[in-house]
Symmetry: C2
Subunit: 335 residues, 2 copies
C-alpha cells in the first residue's frame, strides 16, 4: 500500500470510532486524507483530528472512492451493507463488527498472535470481539510454549461494549438509584448499576449467548486450533470501559507458574500486574486507557495438576477494539 | 432444648445482626428472651423487635448467663474471644465467623445439605461462608444424583460481604465519581464503584485468597468429600448485597441438562430462574431480600462431555449468612 494512506472511518462518532481517531493521531498513522463517515443521524457533526475539526459525512455509494483503507465500526448491519462497495472501490476494509469474522475467506487478526493471516485478505480483515482479543493476548504466549487443551472463561464485561450511550446509561442509572428513583433502561434490558446480568446477546439452542460463542469460535480460528475446548460465561457488570476475565487453562502436563509468569512478563502487548505483598492485581480502572492487557494472579489450578488460573483486565474500546484495528491497519500499510 | 429459647445476638448492630433480628421475628422463632450484644462502641443503641425497641449492651463476662442460644456475627476475633465463655455458660453458639469452621470438633452446617451434622455439636456450630453456602445449595442436589468430580468457580461478590459500612462506601464512591470527585476508600482498598477487584482477603503461598480457600475447604467439609477438586476465583464487584457465581461442574459421566434442571427446580431453598425466550436469568437485584438461591443458565459445558455450566445469585446477608444461621438455630431448637 502507499506510504501515505487515504483512510475512511465508518462509524466515526461511536465509542470505538472516536478512539480510532485518537489512535490514528497518537500513533502517527501515515494519513494522506481522513474521511469520517457515519449514519445520516450523525452527519454534520465535526470531530477533532490533528488540530482540525473534520466534518462527519453520511455514508453513501460514493463514500469510498479514492479511499485506500476503511476502518469500519458501525455494527454488523452497516458493515454488511457497505463492505462490498468499499472493496469494489479498491479499499481494504478492517471491520470491527462480527459480520465477517467467521467467514473462511476473511482473516481474523490479532497482530500479536497471527499477523501472517492479515496478508491473506481478499479485501476484508476482521477485528475479533473484545473478549476474544483480551483472552487471546494472555493465552497465546502460553499456548506457544505448551498447547492449551481447554479454556473455561468467566467474564466481567463493562458497559462500553454496548457503546457510548450504554456508558451514559450506566451513569444515569447509578445516579437514579442513589437518588431513590427508578433507573432508566433504554439501552440495557435491566438496570446495570449496582447489579449485573448474563450477557444479553441472542442465545443459541444450547443456551450459550453470541458473546460466549464468539470467545469459543473466534479463539479457535485465530489460534488455528479448531479442536480447542473452550467454554465461557459472559456477564455484564457495572464498570464503564474495561473488561475483566477469570481464565482457567488446562494443559497436557503441568505448566509451572513461574514459567507462565516469565512468559507473560515478556509477551508483547501484555503487562504482568502482580503485587502479592500488596494484594494488588489488574483492575478495570487501571486498564482503562491503556494499550496493554493487564494479566495477573497466575496460580496453579487447585483442581487440576496441569491447570493454571489467571486474571486479566483490558480496555474494551482500546485493545478490545480500536487499537487492535489500528494495529491491523499498520500491518496492512507496512508501518 | 426448651420450647421457648433465651437468645443472644452477638454483633446485633451489623449487617448480618440486623438481618438476624428481622428473621427471628418474621420466622416466629420461639424466643423467651432476646439479648442484643455488640462492642462497647454500639452499646446504648436500640433495635426494633416485635414492636419494641431493645437495648444493645456491650458484651462482657456475664452476657451469656441464662442464655440458651447465641447467634454470633461480630467477626472471628470477637467469636474467638467469647464463644468459650458462652459455651461454658451452657449456651449453644451458632457462629457466623470463620473462627471455628475448619475445626474438626465443630460441625459446619447448611440445613438443606447436612442437617445431621448439627446434632454432633459440642457447643459451637459454624455457619459457612456466604460464597460456600450459595454454591453448595446449587451443587449439592446434583451431587446427590451423580457425584461432582471437580468445580471451577468464579464469583461476583457484592459489597455487603464487607458489612454495612462497605455498602455505604460503595454508594459514596459512586456519587463521588459521578460528581467528578475522588472516591473515598476507607473500607475497601480500592474504589469499587464502576470498578472491581480480586477479593482482597489474605493470600496463601499458592496465591489463593482466604475467600477462595473457604469455598474449597468448607465445601469439602460440608459435603464430606475431602477429595473433591475445587478451584475458585473470587472477585468483588460494585453490587450492593447479592453475590453471583459462575460455576463449572465436572461429573464422571454426562449429566443431562434437562435432568439437572428438573432436580434444581425441586431442590429445597433453590429457585430455578430461566426464561430462555426473554434472555432472563438470575440477577443480584432479584435475589436481594429473597430466601432462595436463584439458579439458572444450566447448560452443557462446551469444553467437556461430562460438564455442566450454571449461574446463580443469592442474597449474601440472607441465605449467605443470617438465614442459614437461623435455620441452624431452628434445627437445634427443633422447630
Amino acid at each position: 500500500m502507499k506510504s501515505q494512506v487515504r483512510v475512511a472511518i465508518l462509524g466515526a462518532t461511536g465509542a470505538v470510532g472516536t478512539e480510532l481517531l485518537e489512535l490514528l493521531e497518537s500513533r502517527n498513522f501515515p494519513i494522506a486524507e481522513l474521511k469520517l463517515l457515519a449514519s445520516s443521524r450523525s452527519a454534520g457533526r465535526t470531530l477533532p483530528f490533528r488540530g482540525e475539526q473534520l466534518p462527519v459525512a453520511a455514508v453513501g455509494e460514493d463514500s469510498f472512492k479514492n479511499i485506500d483503507l476503511v476502518l469500519a465500526s458501525a455494527g454488523g448491519t452497516t458493515s454488511k451493507a457497505w463492505a462490498a462497495t468499499a472493496v469494489e472501490s479498491g479499499a481494504v476494509v478492517i471491520d470491527n463488527s462480527s459480520a465477517f469474522r467467521m467467514n473462511p475467506q476473511v482473516p481474523l487478526v490479532i497482530p500479536e498472535v497471527n499477523p501472517e493471516a492479515a496478508a491473506t485478505h481478499q479485501g476484508i480483515i476482521a477485528n475479533p470481539n473484545c473478549t476474544t482479543i483480551l483472552m487471546a493476548m494472555a493465552v497465546w504466549p502460553l499456548h506457544q510454549v505448551q498447547p492449551v487443551k481447554r479454556i473455561i472463561a468467566a467474564t466481567y464485561q463493562s458497559a462500553s461494549g454496548a457503546g457510548f450511550q450504554a456508558m451514559e446509561e450506566l451513569k444515569l442509572q447509578a445516579q437514579a438509584i442513589l437518588n431513590g428513583d427508578t433507573p432508566p433502561t433504554e439501552i440495557f434490558p435491566y438496570p446495570l448499576a449496582f447489579n449485573l446480568f448474563p450477557h444479553n446477546s441472542a442465545l443459541n439452542e444450547e443456551g450459550y449467548c453470541e458473546e460466549e460463542m464468539k470467545m469459543v469460535n473466534e479463539t479457535r480460528k485465530i489460534f488455528n486450533a479448531p479442536e480447542m475446548k473452550i467454554s465461557a460465561t459472559c456477564v455484564r457488570v457495572p464498570v464503564l470501559r474495561a473488561h475483566s476475565e477469570a481464565i482457567n487453562l488446562e494443559f497436557s502436563e503441568p505448566f509451572p507458574v513461574a514459567k507462565a509468569r516469565e512468559i507473560l512478563s515478556n509477551a508483547p502487548g501484555v503487562r504482568l500486574v502482580e503485587d502479592w505483598q500488596a494484594n494488588y492485581f489488574p483492575m478495570p480502572i487501571d486498564a482503562t486507557g491503556k494499550d496493554e492487557v493487564l494479566v495477573g494472579r497466575i496460580r496453579q489450578d487447585l483442581s487440576h495438576p496441569s491447570g493454571l488460573e489467571l486474571w486479566l483486565c483490558g480496555d474494551q474500546i482500546r485493545k478490545g477494539a480500536a487499537l487492535n484495528a489500528v494495529q491491523i491497519a499498520e500491518l496492512v500499510v507496512g508501518c
